[in-house]
C-alpha cells in the first residue's frame, strides 16, 4: 500500500503558491527593481520601527508619531496629553530599560533585511550598471540613514549588510563599535550621493529620494557624527565635519533648491510649512503626501496633545536688532505674552501663536475664542505653556474634517537645513568665513528681514557664554534651534553637543503675574518661581511624575531593550543602564 501511494506522489500532491511569486522568478527588469524598492518606502511608513523618513503616521497613529512631536523629547516644547507620556518620560530622564523596544528605538530590523535582500539580488537584473546603481543607491541611502539613527540612539549597533539566515553568526555577535559602523554608513551615503539620479523625472510629488536628498541626509549624519566625536570624544571629528560641509556645500551650490522667499518676511518662513501639497515649493526637498482615500492622518487635531513651546525656547529669539533678549535694549520682558513678542525675530510670530493672530491663522478651527488658552480653561485648544505652536498649523485641514481626513504633509527634508549644517560644520572646524555665513545663516535671516550675523561683530549672549561655547557657535546653534523648531532636531542636537544639562532644567511656560492670573481664569497649571528674577511661570509638569527632570551621562544613549539582551547577551547593555 505504501509503495502504491509513493508512486502516486505525483502532481496531485505538488502544490505551489498560486498567488505569489518567488525569489527565483523575480529580479529581472528595471520595473522589478522599482517595485522592490517601493517596498522599502512602504516599510518606512512605520514611524516607530523605522524612525527615518518620518511623517505623521496614519489615522490613529498620528496621535503619537509625528516629527511635530519629537521636540517634546527636548527643552523646546512640552507634551500635554497622557498618550505622550513616553515623550515626557524621556525628556525627564525617567525612562528605563523595558522588555520591548520603545518608540523609535531598537527595532526596524525587517527594514534592514529588506534592504539587504535587495543588495543580494539587484545584480541579477538585466539592466545597465548605471540604472542598477540608482536602485542600489536608493537602498543604501535608506540603510545608511537607518543605521545612523540607530548609532545616534544606541552607540554601537548590530551592523548587518547581507541577508541573514538562522545559521548566521551575526545573530549572536557583539554590536559593532560605533566608529566602525559609521564608516560603513558613510560608504552607503557616499554611494547614494554619487549614484542616485539628480532627478527621477517624477516631479516633487513627492517622487523618489534623489541624489540631493542623499546629500542632505549625508550632511546631517556627518555633522552629527563630527560634533558627537568632538564633544563626547572620538577619533577624527574633522573628517566628519569636512564631509558634512562638503555635502551641504555641494547641495547648496549645485542643487535646484532655494529658500522659499516671496518677499513677505511675515509669511515666508511658515507659509510653505502649512501647505497640504508642497510639491512645487523650491525649499521642500522631500515630503510625505497624504490624500483622502489613500493615506490620511489626524495630526492637526491630535496636535493638541502637544503642550506648547517653552519659555526657554521663546527666550532664544533674537530681537530685531540682532541681539539676544538677554542684552538687547529692545526686549520688552515677558510680563504678558504680547510683550514677549515685541521687537523679536519675525519667525517667532510664525512659530508661536500671537494672540492677535488668532483670526489670521483661523486658530483653533476658527472658533472665535481668545488665545492662548491654558489647561483648565473651557473649550477650544489648550496649552500648558501658553505658547501655542502655529508653525505647521493649517486650519483648513481641520475645519469640517472628520476623524482621519487630514492631509497635512510631513516635510522630511528641506533646503534650510543644508545651510545650517554647512555653517555649523564650518564653525566647528574653525574655518568659517563671512562668506560662509552669507551663503547660509544670513540667507535665513534675509528671508525674515533680520540683521546679518557678522563674523566680526558676534553678540555675546551671557546665557550661552555660561554654557561655555564660543559666540559664533552659540549663534549658529541658536539659529538652528529657531529655524528648525518643531521639526524634530532639538533632542538629537542637545545630545550631540553634550548639552544634557539643558534637560536638567524645568520646562516652563508664560509668566503669570496677578493680571495674567485674572486673564487666564480657570487655568489649573501650577506655577514655578524663577529664583533669578523672582517671577512666576507656568510649570507644566508640576505635580506629576515628571516634575523633577534628571539627566545623567547614561541618558546620552538609550537603553537596549531587555528582550534583545535576553536573546543575545553579547550585545551588552549601554553604560549606566
Amino acid at each position: 500500500m505504501a509503495t502504491f501511494l509513493v508512486s502516486c506522489n505525483d502532481e496531485f500532491l505538488e502544490r505551489i503558491p498560486l498567488d505569489q511569486i518567488t525569489n527565483e522568478t523575480f529580479w529581472n527588469t528595471e520595473n522589478d527593481l522599482v517595485v522592490y524598492n517601493n517596498s522599502l518606502y512602504e516599510l518606512s511608513t512605520n514611524e516607530t520601527n523605522v524612525s527615518i523618513n518620518f511623517a505623521h503616521g496614519s489615522r490613529f497613529d498620528s496621535h503619537r508619531y509625528s516629527p511635530w512631536y519629537l521636540d517634546e523629547f527636548s527643552d523646546n516644547a512640552t507634551a500635554m496629553h497622557p498618550r505622550h507620556t513616553r515623550y515626557m518620560q524621556v525628556r525627564a530622564g525617567k525612562h528605563n530599560a523595558s522588555p520591548n523596544s520603545q518608540w523609535f528605538g531598537y527595532s526596524g530590523w525587517n527594514f534592514v533585511r529588506a534592504i539587504n535582500v535587495g543588495m543580494d539580488n539587484y545584480g541579477k537584473a538585466q539592466v545597465p550598471e548605471s540604472v542598477r546603481n540608482q536602485y542600489i543607491g536608493e537602498a543604501r541611502l535608506f540603510r545608511g540613514w537607518f543605521y545612523a539613527d540607530k548609532v545616534s540612539k544606541f552607540g554601537d549597533v548590530p551592523y548587518i549588510e547581507t541577508e541573514l539566515n538562522t545559521e548566521s553568526e551575526e545573530l549572536f555577535a557583539a554590536r559593532m563599535p560605533r566608529e566602525e559602523a559609521m564608516e560603513k554608513i558613510l560608504e552607503d551615503l557616499t554611494f547614494a550621493a554619487t549614484n542616485l539620479p539628480e532627478n527621477w523625472g517624477d516631479g516633487n510629488a513627492p517622487g523618489r529620494l534623489n541624489r540631493w536628498a542623499a546629500l542632505l541626509v549625508k550632511a546631517r549624519i556627518c555633522l552629527f557624527e563630527g560634533t558627537w566625536r568632538k564633544y563626547h570624544g572620538g577619533s577624527n571629528p574633522e573628517k566628519w565635519l569636512n564631509e558634512a560641509a562638503a555635502a551641504s556645500k555641494e547641495l547648496i551650490e549645485n542643487g535646484p533648491y532655494s529658500l522659499n522667499i516671496t518677499g513677505n518676511p511675515d509669511n515666508d518662513y511658515n507659509s510653505f510649512q502649512r501647505e497640504l501639497y508642497p510639491s512645487t515649493n523650491t525649499e521642500v526637498m522631500y515630503w510625505r503626501k497624504y490624500v483622502l482615500g489613500v493615506y490620511t492622518n489626524h495630526v492637526q487635531s491630535y496636535f493638541e496633545y502637544h503642550g506648547g513651546a517653552t519659555r526657554d525656547f521663546v527666550e532664544d529669539y533674537l530681537c530685531t536688532d540682532g541681539l539676544p533678549a538677554s542684552i538687547s535694549p529692545l526686549y520688552q520682558g515677558d510680563d504678558s505674552i504680547e510683550k514677549t513678542f515685541e521687537n523679536r525675530d519675525p519667525r517667532m510670530r510664525q512659530t508661536v501663536l500671537h494672540p492677535e493672530e488668532v483670526a489670521k491663522y483661523r486658530f483653533h478651527r476658527d472658533d472665535g475664542r481668545e488665545y492662548p488658552r491654558l489647561v483648565g480653561m473651557a473649550g477650544g485648544r489648550r496649552s500648558n505653556t501658553g505658547y501655542h505652536v502655529i508653525k505647521n498649523y493649517n486650519a483648513a485641514d481641520q475645519i469640517g474634517k472628520s476623524f482621519a481626513q487630514g492631509e497635512s504633509a510631513a516635510i522630511i527634508l528641506r533646503f534650510a537645513e543644508a545651510l545650517l549644517v554647512y555653517a555649523e560644520a564650518q564653525a566647528e572646524l574653525g574655518s568659517i568665513s563671512q562668506g560662509d555665513l552669507d551663503m547660509s545663516i544670513n540667507k535665513l535671516r534675509d528671508r525674515v528681514g533680520m540683521p546679518h550675523l557678522e563674523l566680526d561683530n558676534i553678540p555675546v549672549d551671557p546665557v550661552y557664554a555660561a554654557l561655555g561655547v564660543s559666540p559664533i557657535i552659540a549663534e549658529i546653534r541658536r539659529e538652528r534651534r529657531i529655524e528648525l523648531f518643531n521639526e524634530g532636531y532639538r533632542y538629537d542636537d542637545l545630545r550631540r553637543w553634550k548639552w544634557g544639562k539643558k534637560l536638567e532644567q524645568k520646562s516652563l511656560g508664560i509668566a503669570m503675574n496677578a493680571e495674567q492670573k485674572a486673564r487666564y481664569e480657570g487655568s489649573v497649571i501650577r506655577l514655578y518661581t524663577d529664583p533669578e528674577n523672582g517671577k512666576e511661570y507656568l510649570e507644566p509638569y508640576a505635580g506629576g511624575d515628571f516634575e523633577n527632570p534628571v539627566f545623567e551621562d547614561k541618558h546620552y544613549l538609550w537603553p537596549i531593550p531587555l528582550n534583545d539582551l535576553a536573546q543575545n547577551p553579547n550585545i551588552g547593555q549601554n553604560p549606566g543602564w
Binding site: M1, A2, F4, L5, C8, F12, R15, I16, P17, L18, D19, Q20, T22, D32, Y36, N38, S39, E42, F60, P82, Q89, N96, S98, F111, V112, N116, P158, N165, T166, S168, E170, L171, D202, R288, K289, V291, L292, G293, V294, Y295, R365, A378, G379, G380, I399, G400, K401, S402, F403, Q405, G522, R526, G544, D545, L562, N563, D564, L565, A566, Q567
Partner: protein, 1068 residues
C-alpha cells in the same frame, strides 16, 4: 431464588409535544364492560422474581408494580387491554390480556447496553468492544435548545471535549479542543460529518443523530495526519423502513444580555470621582468647576432646565445618560423551526429536513444585529439489488448576518465602558443657546447626534456589515456486499462554499457641542466612507473508499474483522475583494456608486492530502480485545522528500466481567473492561494566527499596494520573501491511554475513566532568533511538549418509585501540558518564546505586598522606580522577591525574571459538565450545568478595558467603594488613578489575578408529552411542549463586570445571554 429489585423506567424515547392538545379537553376512557382482574408473577430468564417491575395498561396511567415476591394484581377494562411489563435492564414486554386472568411473564435481559453501537472511524463498533478512548453523545443533548450551533450544544457534554464559545455572537467561531493544549502551532480536532470534514457550526443541531469523540491515537488512527488532536465524528439522522414520519419542532426564545456593569448614576459623583483620579495621575481635574457645579445642580434637582447649559461657548449636559439601558435590549427574540420527513420502503429510505433559525442581537434601537441560518439535509438510500446500494446526500447550509459596521472600539458595544455618562447624545431643543434669540441659528442642529464615543449615530446610520454564506455538499456513496462478511463502501463528496461579504462605512452627521464652531457638522469616524465587497469561493472534495471483511468463524471464540481504505482530499480557496471609496450617496451603498479611490485584492490557495489506512480487530472469547490501526499519509504542505508519514497504533481491551472468576459478581456487575492504547498520529496543519499556512516550505515574495504616495495614489510593491526551512515535515503526536469502563447495578451506574499522555514531538516552532534576523524565523521541527490528563464520565440512572425516574451524568476532565524541548538557551521571555519545563499557560507577575498606606512606607520600601514613577501612599507595593532592593524585570529571562514569579496559570483545569433529568409520567425536567473547576485569569489592563478602575471612561460603583483612600485603607484597588495612563499599579501581579473557575446552568428544560391515546385520536404519534432556560444562573469568584465565559477579548464583546424558550414538537 434471587430477587431483583427496583427499576429504571425508560423515559419517552423521543421528546415531542403537541400544543394543540392543550386546547382540547383531555378526556378519554375505555368501556367498563368486560373489566376483569389479572394477576401473576414477573421473573427474569433464570426464574428469579423481579421486585418492583412495572405493569401498566398500555395507553393509560393505570398500573401497578410487583411486590416483594414478584407478584402483581391489576384490574383491566377489557380483553383488548394490553399490559406492558417493564424493568430496568430488561426488555419490556407487551401482552394482550384476552381471556387470561393469570399472566406469568418472563422478562429477558435487555441486551441494548451490550449491543449499543458506536460510530468509529470508517465504521461502527459495539460499545463493549471499544478499546480506544471514545466519548459519545446522543441527539438528546442537542435537541430543543435555543442554540445557534451544534458546538454550543456540545459544551460540557463529553469529558475533555472542550468547546470554546468566545461570546454570545452567533457568528463568532466556536473552537474545539480535545484533551487540552495541542501544539504551540495551535491545532484542533478533525471534525467529520458522515465521514467528510465539515465545519460543525454549519450543521443543524437537530439533524445530528450521534456524536463520537475519538480521543486517543488508537481511535483516531485511521485519520492519520489530520487527527493528531482527536476527531469528532458526527452522524446525521437517516430514514428507516416504515411509515412516513413527520416531525415538526418550533420554538421561540427571548434573550437577555448578561451584562455586569454597575454604573454610578449620579453625574456629580461621576465628575468628582474622575476628577480625583485625574488629579492624582495628571495633576489636573478632568472636569472644570462649571461641570462640578452643573452636575451638582442637576443631581439636586434633575429638571430639564438643569440638564443643559452653555459655558464659554460649550454646550454642556449635566444630567445622566444611561447608555447601557438605552443600547442593550431587555429581550431579543430568537426563533427556530425544524421540519423533518423520513420513511422508507424495502428498497429505499429517505430523510429530509429543513431548518430555520433566526436570532436578533443585543441592541435596543433600530438596526439591531440579525442572524439567520437555513439548513436542508436530504438523504436517500437505494437498494439496487441484493448486494449494491447507493447513498445520496445533499447538505445545504445558508447563513445570513446583518450587523452595524464596525468602526473601531470607540463606537461599538465597548463604548459602554468608554463613554462618560454626562456625554450628551443628541443636540437638545432649548429655548436659546448662547444668547436669547439664537435658537433659529441652532435649530438645524436639533436632534443631530454628538460624536466622540457616542455609539448611536454609527449604529443607526453608519453602514452595515452583511454576509451570506452558502455551503453545499453533494455526496454520492455506494455500498457493495458481494459476499457474506464483506462490505465495500465508497463515497465522493464535493463541497462548494461561497461567501458574499459586504461592508459599508457610510457617512453620518455628527454635531459638535462647541457652539462657536463655524462648521458644527462633520462626519466623525465615518468621514472616509467606503464600500467593500468580498467573495470567497472554496472548493473541496473528498474521496473515501474502504472495505471491511468480517472473517467467517475461524474457530469458536475467535472473531476477526479487517478493514482497509483509501482517502484523498483536495481543496482550493479563492477570494476576490474590491473596495470603492466615497459613496455618492449613503442611500446606494454599492461600489458602482462611488467616486473615490478603488482597490482590488485577490488570492488563491490549494492543498491536497492522500492516505491509506487499515484496521484489524481480533476478539477472543468476547473477553480479549485487540485492535491494530494505521495510516500512511502524504500531504502537499511539505516538501516532496518529507511529505510522507506512517502512523500506527495498537490497543487492547480485557472484559474482566466475562471471566469465570467474576461469575459471583454478575448480580451487581454488568460489565467491567480495562483498555489500553498506544499510537502515533501526525499533524500537518500549520497556522499563522487563525489562518492556515498552505505552503510553509516555499519562500514567496509578498506583493500589494502601499499608500506611500510617490505621485498620487497607491504604489505597487513586491517585498522580500521570508525564511523557510526546506526540511519541514510532520509534527508527530504520540498518545498513550489507559481506560476503565464499568456498568453495574443493572445498568444503573455507568462509569468510564481514562488516563492519558499525549506527547507532541517535532513541533514546528518559530525558533526565537534575535530580532536582527529581520523576519520571522523559519518554522523548524524543533520543539516537544507533553500533555497529561484524565477524564471520567459517570452516569447514574434510577427509578424512585412508580412513574418517577431520574438520571445524572457527570463529565469531568483535566489536563496540563508542559514544554519538554524548545530552543531558547537564554530562557528569554517575550515574543513567542517557550522554554523547557514551562507549563503552558503560566502567568508571570509580581507578588503584591499590599497598598502603601503612607508616603514614608514608600521611602522605606525597595525602589520601584524602574516600573513606574512618583510612588505615593495608595499605590501598590510589590515584593522584592530577589532581595536586591529594587523592583524590576531583571533580564526578562527565566534565570533572572527580576521580581516576578509564576503567579498563576491560564489553563482550564477540572472542566466539567453535569447533566441531570427527572421524569414523572409524561413530565420531565432536565438540567445541565457546565463549568471550569480552576483557572487563572489576568484581567486586561489594556486601555479602555473595563476591569481596573478608571481604565476606561465609565465609573462604576465599585470604583467608589473599593479604591484606596486614607479612610478606606482596606480597599481592594489602589487609590483612584487613570490607569490608562499610569500602568504602574496594574502590572501583572498576584493581587488582581482572578479565579476564573465557574459553574453555569447552561440549560434547564421542562417538558410534557401529551398522552398517546389523545394523540392517536388526532393522528399524531407524539407531541411535546417544552420550555427551556439557557444560562440562567452562574457562580464564580471572578469579580464583576467580567464574565468567566467571555474573557478571551479584553474589550467588551457581544455579551452572553440568558435565553428563555417555549417550544413545541409534533410527530406524525
Amino acid at each position: 431464588m434471587r430477587k431483583i429489585y427496583s427499576s429504571l423506567s425508560g423515559f419517552p424515547s423521543h421528546l415531542s409535544v403537541f400544543l394543540l392538545a392543550f386546547a382540547l379537553t383531555v378526556s378519554y376512557s375505555f368501556a367498563q364492560d368486560g373489566s376483569r382482574t389479572v394477576s401473576g408473577i414477573v421473573t427474569d430468564d433464570t426464574g428469579d422474581e423481579i421486585v418492583g417491575a412495572s405493569v401498566t395498561i398500555k395507553g393509560t396511567y393505570t398500573g401497578t408494580s410487583t411486590d416483594a415476591a414478584g407478584k402483581y394484581s391489576l384490574t383491566v377494562p377489557s380483553a383488548q387491554s394490553i399490559l406492558v411489563f417493564t424493568f430496568v435492564g430488561f426488555s419490556s414486554q407487551e401482552i394482550t390480556v384476552g381471556n387470561q386472568s393469570a399472566i406469568k411473564v418472563q422478562l429477558a435481559l435487555d441486551s441494548k447496553t451490550f449491543d449499543e453501537v458506536v460510530v468509529v472511524g470508517y465504521g461502527t463498533q459495539k460499545k463493549v468492544n471499544l478499546t480506544g478512548a471514545v466519548g459519545i453523545a446522543s441527539a438528546e443533548r442537542l435537541e430543543n435548545r435555543p442554540i445557534a450551533s451544534a458546538g454550543e450544544g456540545l459544551q460540557g457534554v463529553i469529558p475533555n471535549l472542550n468547546v470554546n464559545v468566545r461570546n454570545g455572537d452567533p457568528t463568532a467561531p466556536i473552537t474545539f479542543n480535545i484533551r487540552g493544549f495541542e501544539s504551540i502551532n495551535g491545532g484542533s480536532p478533525l471534525i467529520l460529518v458522515d465521514n467528510v470534514p465539515m465545519d460543525l457550526n454549519r450543521i443543524n443541531p437537530n439533524d445530528i443523530k450521534s456524536v463520537s469523540v475519538l480521543k486517543d491515537a488508537s481511535a483516531a488512527a485511521v485519520y492519520g495526519a489530520r487527527a493528531a488532536f482527536g476527531v469528532v465524528l458526527i452522524e446525521t439522522k437517516k430514514g428507516a423502513e416504515g411509515k412516513v414520519r413527520v416531525n415538526l419542532n418550533t420554538q421561540f426564545s427571548l434573550a437577555k444580555p448578561i451584562f455586569n456593569m454597575d454604573n454610578v448614576t449620579d453625574p456629580h459623583d461621576y465628575v468628582n470621582a474622575r476628577n480625583a483620579a485625574n488629579i492624582r495621575t495628571n495633576g489636573a481635574p478632568s472636569f472644570d468647576d462649571d461641570y462640578v457645579a452643573g452636575t451638582k445642580r442637576w443631581s439636586d434637582n434633575p429638571t430639564d432646565q438643569n440638564a443643559w447649559g452653555v459655558y464659554e461657548g460649550d454646550l454642556r449636559f449635566y444630567g445622566f445618560n444611561d447608555y447601557q439601558n438605552q443600547i442593550m435590549t431587555d429581550y431579543a427574540p430568537t426563533s427556530q423551526h425544524d421540519l423533518s420527513i423520513s420513511g422508507g420502503s424495502k428498497n429505499a429510505s429517505y430523510y429530509v429536513s429543513f431548518g430555520h433559525f433566526q436570532k436578533d442581537g443585543y441592541l435596543k434601537p433600530g438596526n439591531n444585529e440579525e442572524f439567520t441560518r437555513n439548513n436542508i439535509l436530504m438523504k436517500a438510500d437505494f437498494k439496487i439489488n441484493d448486494w449494491i446500494s447507493l447513498q445520496e446526500k445533499i447538505v445545504v447550509n445558508n447563513q445570513n448576518s446583518d450587523k452595524p459596521h464596525f468602526y473601531n472600539w470607540d463606537v461599538n458595544i465597548n463604548s459602554l465602558a468608554r463613554v462618560n455618562p454626562i456625554a450628551p447624545i443628541q443636540f437638545p431643543d432649548l429655548p436659546f443657546y448662547q444668547t436669547q434669540g439664537d435658537r433659529e441659528q441652532y435649530a438645524p442642529l436639533i436632534g443631530k447626534y454628538f460624536g466622540g464615543t457616542n455609539f448611536f449615530p454609527y449604529l443607526l446610520d453608519g453602514g452595515r456589515t452583511t454576509f451570506t454564506n452558502n455551503d453545499v455538499w453533494l455526496s454520492q456513496g455506494i455500498t457493495l456486499t458481494p459476499l457474506k462478511g464483506l462490505k465495500i463502501q465508497g463515497n465522493f463528496s464535493y463541497n462548494m462554499f461561497s461567501r458574499e461579504y459586504k461592508d459599508v462605512q457610510s457617512k453620518i452627521d455628527i454635531v459638535t457641542n462647541d457652539l462657536t464652531d463655524p462648521n458644527p457638522i462633520t462626519n466623525g469616524f465615518s468621514g472616509d466612507d467606503w464600500v467593500r465587497n468580498r467573495s470567497d469561493n472554496d472548493r473541496y472534495s473528498v474521496l473515501n473508499a474502504y472495505a471491511e471483511y468480517t472473517f467467517p468463524m475461524l474457530a469458536k471464540k475467535h472473531d476477526v474483522k479487517a478493514m482497509v481504505g483509501f482517502n484523498q482530499e483536495s481543496g482550493n480557496y479563492r477570494y476576490f475583494q474590491a473596495q470603492g471609496r466615497q459613496l455618492i450617496t449613503p442611500l446606494v451603498p454599492n461600489i458602482n456608486a462611488t467616486t473615490g479611490v478603488q482597490q482590488v485584492w485577490g488570492g488563491e490557495e490549494d492543498f491536497a492530502l492522500r492516505g491509506a489506512f487499515y484496521r484489524l480487530n481480533y476478539i477472543f472469547d468476547d473477553k480479549y480485545l485487540l485492535e491494530l490501526n494505521g495510516r500512511y499519509d502524504l500531504s502537499s504542505r511539505f516538501p516532496t522528500d518529507s511529505r510522507s508519514g506512517f502512523f500506527p497504533s495498537v490497543s487492547a481491551g480485557w472484559r474482566i466481567s466475562g471471566e469465570n472468576f467474576m461469575a459471583g459478581t454478575s448480580n451487581w456487575l454488568d460489565n467491567l473492561k480495562l483498555r489500553a492504547s498506544y499510537g502515533t498520529l501526525g499533524n500537518q496543519i500549520i497556522q499563522n494566527g487563525n489562518s492556515q499556512v498552505y505552503y510553509p516550505a516555499i519562500p514567496s515574495m509578498g506583493s500589494g499596494f502601499s499608500p506611500y504616495m510617490l505621485n498620487s495614489g497607491l504604489i505597487p510593491f513586491v517585498s522580500a520573501s521570508g525564511l523557510v526551512s526546506p526540511s519541514l515535515t510532520w509534527e508527530s503526536v504520540t498518545s498513550q491511554n489507559i481506560g476503565l469502563d464499568f456498568t453495574m447495578l443493572k445498568s444503573r451506574l455507568d462509569v468510564s475513566f481514562d488516563l492519558f499522555t499525549r506527547d507532541t514531538k517535532n513541533m514546528l516552532m518559530n525558533v526565537n532568533y534575535p530580532d536582527i534576523l529581520g523576519t520571522s524565523a523559519p518554522r523548524e521541527n524543533a520543539a516537544d511538549l507533553s500533555n497529561k490528563g484524565w477524564e471520567t464520565s459517570i452516569t447514574w440512572r434510577d427509578k424512585i418509585k412508580d412513574n418517577w425516574s431520574y438520571d445524572v451524568t457527570l463529565a469531568l476532565a483535566d489536563s496540563q501540558a508542559e514544554i519538554t524541548k524548545f530552543m531558547n538557551e537564554t530562557g528569554a521571555f517575550g515574543g513567542s518564546n517557550y522554554r523547557v519545563g514551562q507549563k503552558l499557560g503560566e502567568i508571570w507577575g509580581f507578588e503584591t505586598l499590599g497598598i502603601f498606606q503612607t508616603d514614608e512606607a514608600v521611602i522605606d520600601a525597595p525602589d520601584q522606580s524602574r516600573i513606574g514613577n512618583n510612588w505615593r501612599a495608595g499605590d501598590v507595593q510589590y515584593a522584592d522577591l530577589n532581595g536586591d532592593g529594587k523592583i524590576d524585570f531583571g533580564d526578562n529571562t527565566v534565570e533572572n525574571p527580576g521580581d516576578r514569579k509564576i503567579i498563576g496559570n491560564t489553563s482550564a483545569r477540572y472542566t466539567f459538565g453535569i447533566n441531570g433529568s427527572l421524569a414523572y409520567k409524561n413530565f420531565r425536567v432536565t438540567a445541565f450545568f457546565q463549568g471550569i473547576g480552576s483557572m487563572d485569569h489576568w484581567p486586561s489592563s489594556g486601555n479602555w478595558t473595563w476591569f481596573f478602575p478608571f481604565n476606561a471612561g465609565h465609573v462604576e460603583n465599585y470604583f467608589l467603594t473599593d479604591t484606596w483612600s486614607e479612610t478606606n485603607s482596606d480597599a481592594y484597588f489602589p487609590a483612584p488613578h487613570i490607569s490608562t495612563n499610569d500602568k504602574k499599579n496594574v502590572q501583572v501581579q498576584s493581587r488582581y489575578l482572578q479565579n476564573a473557575g465557574y459553574i453555569r446552568l447552561k440549560n434547564l428544560m421542562f417538558s410534557y408529552d401529551l398522552p398517546t391515546p389523545l394523540l392517536s385520536r388526532i393522528g399524531l404519534s407524539n407531541a411535546q411542549i417544552y420550555t427551556t432556560g439557557m444560562n440562567l444562573w452562574e457562580f464564580t469568584k471572578m469579580r464583576k463586570p467580567l464574565d468567566p465565559e467571555s474573557i478571551q477579548g479584553g474589550a467588551i464583546e457581544y455579551p452572553m445571554q440568558r435565553i428563555f424558550t417555549l417550544g413545541l414538537n409534533v410527530s406524525l
